[in-house]
């Protein structure tokens, strides 16, 4: 068993730990060995082996006492967006080079209090802005997946690309991600893993580097739906430090995985059938409908009429919030400060620091956000987008009021693309990656990407299920039925 400990699921490892068949130290060592051999993927950018071993030893002691929670002794990767005390937390940006927080994010605190082990920090798109993990100051993450024998390096997706690659390549048992427009679900779909974005307010945002505060949510990226249920249970909960975290009880999500979805009603939104969508995606979606119908669910066509306006609304709201949030990177309190010339004053310090510290995509979004919030344009762009956002949310409320329990859609408009293939594309082309996921953030709903099949080149494809607010348990149950029916078991052939 010892040569495959890093391949375990959270549930499998938990059960083996409780039976005394393995130790947390063994699990951690197996993951660290896999990490050391996976430099080509560039997923882990700040390994923390000493912290990991200390936490693993403490977890073993706790397990021996017999009262260990489910996440105790489970080795995880942590997205670089989470502030981790004393450990570099850079949001993959040059502007936070050298930043070591004096505090721990609420989500990572909860995981570590439950006994989870941190293997290190994971690569991502800079400030979580991107869909291909090509905007990181650490360089690209390379997906463990390839198109058959073709060695072209592929994107793991983004922005949680390091998390997705690390879980898919079995460098860790699971990872934290964050999702502002699809940054958990799109990379999960590209790498054949499960990615859950909880209801907005389910997990505290405190200590997570902010991108767009009304959209950002942390969530688990795991090898199975059951693992997502277990890990979410530990990450979630009200937090006095985040006034938008909801005072809603966190149920035992794992206990809600009954495998029974008879009588549930699944909506199929006609607006998600896009012109030019590959046949394979269309076919996968049809198979998903059939799998849920075979399991006893009722399948109903629905309409979400404002869907096509979600992306433009998102690309007003998210940059607007980002331009405000990223104003704090001024070269004064933390991170990078530009070397100043003679006579340079404080304005030059800000302007040079931010020009040197932010990458091209971040600069672009900060400037778009600045523009749409500037005098004279606030109503035309920002307020209009917020009103369209209200209509997008209302679309969902109306179908849920009609008795829809969950909505099935493709997770992405294509399989993973090659690194660099979008380099000459218009920025808007890259934004289209989020076309199926971004509505969920705008409406604040829970959404999950489940691996459901492969394209003809053998690359994973995902289906997305969207649930009612706060009903992650029900959503996870439907997702597990889909996961089992699809039976996706492929793993990337090891080349790294």
């Amino acid at each position: 068993m010892s040569d495959a400990l890093n391949k375990l699921t959270i549930a499998g490892a938990r059960d083996a730990l409780r039976k005394g068949e393995v130790s947390a130290v063994d699990l951690t060592m197996a993951c660290m060995t896999a990490m050391d051999a996976a430099g080509d993927l560039n997923a882990f950018v700040h390994p923390t082996p000493e912290i990991a071993l200390d936490q693993a030893r403490a977890a073993d002691a706790r397990i021996q006492k017999g009262d260990a929670p489910a996440m105790c002794g489970i080795p995880l990767g942590i997205k670089d967006l989470f502030c981790t005390k004393g450990v570099p937390s850079q949001a993959a940006s040059r502007i936070l080079k050298g930043f070591k927080p004096e505090y721990e994010s609420t989500v990572t605190s909860k995981l570590f209090d439950a006994g989870a082990v941190m293997l290190g920090k994971l690569n991502m798109d800079e400030f979580a802005m991107g869909s291909s993990n090509e905007s990181s100051c650490y360089g690209n993450v390379v997906s463990p997946w390839r198109r058959g024998d073709d060695a072209t390096p592929l994107t793991p997706g983004g922005s949680s690309g390091g998390s997705a690659a690390a879980v898919a390549a079995d460098l860790c048992l699971a990872a934290t991600g964050t999702d502002t427009g699809g940054s958990i679900r799109q990379p999960a779909a590209f790498t054949g893993i499960v990615g859950l974005k909880p209801t907005y307010g389910r997990c505290s945002r405190w200590g997570i580097v902010a991108f767009a505060s009304s959209l950002d949510q942390a969530g688990p990226m795991t090898k199975s739906v059951r693992d997502a249920a277990i890990m979410l249970g530990t990450m979630a909960g009200e937090d006095a430090k985040d006034s938008t975290s909801a005072p809603i009880e966190v149920p035992d999500f794992e206990a809600m995985l009954t495998g029974d979805i008879r009588g549930k009603t699944i909506g199929i939104p006609r607006e998600y059938r896009m012109d030019g969508m590959p046949d394979e995606i269309e076919a996968l979606w049809a198979e998903g409908r059939k799998m849920l119908a075979d399991a006893g669910a009722k399948i109903v066509d629905i309409s979400l009429p404002h869907t096509k306006y979600a992306l433009p609304a998102y690309y007003v709201i998210a940059p607007a919030e980002a331009s405000s949030n990223l104003a704090r990177y001024d070269g004064v309190r933390y991170g990078h400060r530009a070397t100043l010339g003679t006579g340079d004053g404080i304005t030059e310090m800000y302007e040079k620091t931010r020009a040197e510290g932010f990458g091209a995509e971040v600069q672009r979004r900060v400037m778009i956000g600045t523009y749409v919030l500037s005098a004279g344009f606030y109503d035309a762009y920002y307020n209009r987008a917020r009103k369209v956002r209200a209509l997008i949310k209302r679309d969902f409320e109306q179908v849920f009021a009609q008795g829809i329990d969950a909505i099935l859609t493709p997770a992405t408009p294509s399989a993973a693309f090659g690194l660099g293939e979008m380099a000459n594309a218009d920025p808007v082309q890259m934004y289209l990656n989020d076309v199926f996921t971004v509505t969920v953030n705008l409406a604040g709903l829970p959404g999950i990407s489940v691996p459901a099949g492969s394209d003809r080149q053998g690359l994973p494809l995902g289906l997305q299920l969207i649930g009612r607010p706060w009903e992650e348990g029900d959503l996870l149950n439907t997702a597990q039925v889909l996961e089992r029916a699809a039976g996706f078991a492929a793993k990337p052939a090891k080349w790294w």
């Binding site: 004096e102 009304s214 006034s243 433009p312 309190r333 400060r337 009103k387 808007v428 934004y431 604040g444």
Partner: protein, 95 residues
Amino acid sequence: MSIDIDTARRVAHLARIKVEEADLPALAGELSGILTFMEQLNEVDIDGVEPMTGVTPMRLKRRADVVADGDMQDKILSNAPDAREGFFAVPKVVE
């Protein structure tokens, strides 16, 4: 809406990001492209719609007005690029 070079320069300055003169035309082009994409929003009838503020209607929480922490000057300054005598240091602001 198309963004000209002067507007691009003004936006860069408002965002406190130094952009070289030679790079302004390309920046103006990119920003214009993105704004054109956003203009689809003008097709939507938004009469009488309130802007969305939150997902679940919820009163903003209030906390007790008490000092919960403090006395951590060293921690706060520990990541500063330039800290002196217990303060953040910046170039001279007032002549």
